[in-house]
Symmetry: C2
Subunit: 185 residues, 2 copies
Amino acid sequence: MDEGNDVISGTVIAEELDLEAIQVRKDLAVTGIVGKPRVGYPTSDLISAIEKFLNWDSACRAVIVGAGNLGSALMGYNELKNHGMNLVAAFDASPSRIGPQKNGPTIYPMSDIKSIVNKEKARLAILTVPPQVAQEVSDQLVDAGIRRIWNFTNVRLRVPEEVLVLREDLSSGYAVLTVLRGITD
Amino acid sequence: MDEGNDVISGTVIAEELDLEAIQVRKDLAVTGIVGKPRVGYPTSDLISAIEKFLNWDSACRAVIVGAGNLGSALMGYNELKNHGMNLVAAFDASPSRIGPQKNGPTIYPMSDIKSIVNKEKARLAILTVPPQVAQEVSDQLVDAGIRRIWNFTNVRLRVPEEVLVLREDLSSGYAVLTVLRGITD
């Protein structure tokens, strides 16, 4: 849409993303959008359909636990805001970080997790604490009613079956780049 | 090893990672390690073999382009240092950020990319610039001899065939968490 295309075809999307056109059409059909044969999808309708399918059209109330440099970076990461993420609070173990922030949510002490998560009706927690305390903080979040955890630590969390943990493992990406070193250098 | 296990079996690793034991053994065999039947792998030998396979036992000289909050967070991310990443320089378009840093590499202006990449023999570039300039900066990096780019922007970069780009797409992780909202909440 930024490039001025009012209509986009499954074939063009497939080429841009190095996928098969048939797979692109099948995947997009899941969102409910209907393309016109030999024309494609109206671009703005397609964007709306995808955003609706991903629930990006409504706010997702989230908290961030661990306000170190990775946590702070994510607080300022506008792309997530654009996708509906609404950071309602942050937590940190360091007393010097506690308090309101100019460009971000108020930072509370870890002991306030349960009360603030409930008061703010937060549904998603981003975990950016040091690995040594990751499991303990995860237990606190689950106890507070959190059922979706975005885990940026390198710890495999043990959670009840109903809790969804997505681990964002930057080391895996780095491994892809280093294992191929001999081939590309 | 941190938990005091001198030996670990493929079966235990498979259980921990929710994988099939046969797949774990096959994958680990690629590193050259040989396990003992009914005993497993000596833990420290296994770690060394994996690190060697991933080239994490030797330094990977890297630069970071874009010293905003995501770039700064990655500069302080110790796990990558532990895996051999050696950040030799950073670059930013903002004159106020240029100069030596207390806890990180010196930040240079974008116009110095080619000379510093060559002088410092950097082999990997981490791209954390705003999306509008991502392609232009990528071209500069390729021109400077970089063949591996870790792309944290939401832009699909166009690069020559011999350049490896790994896109770290935080929005994909977020999508997994939001699309399932109805199921978990």
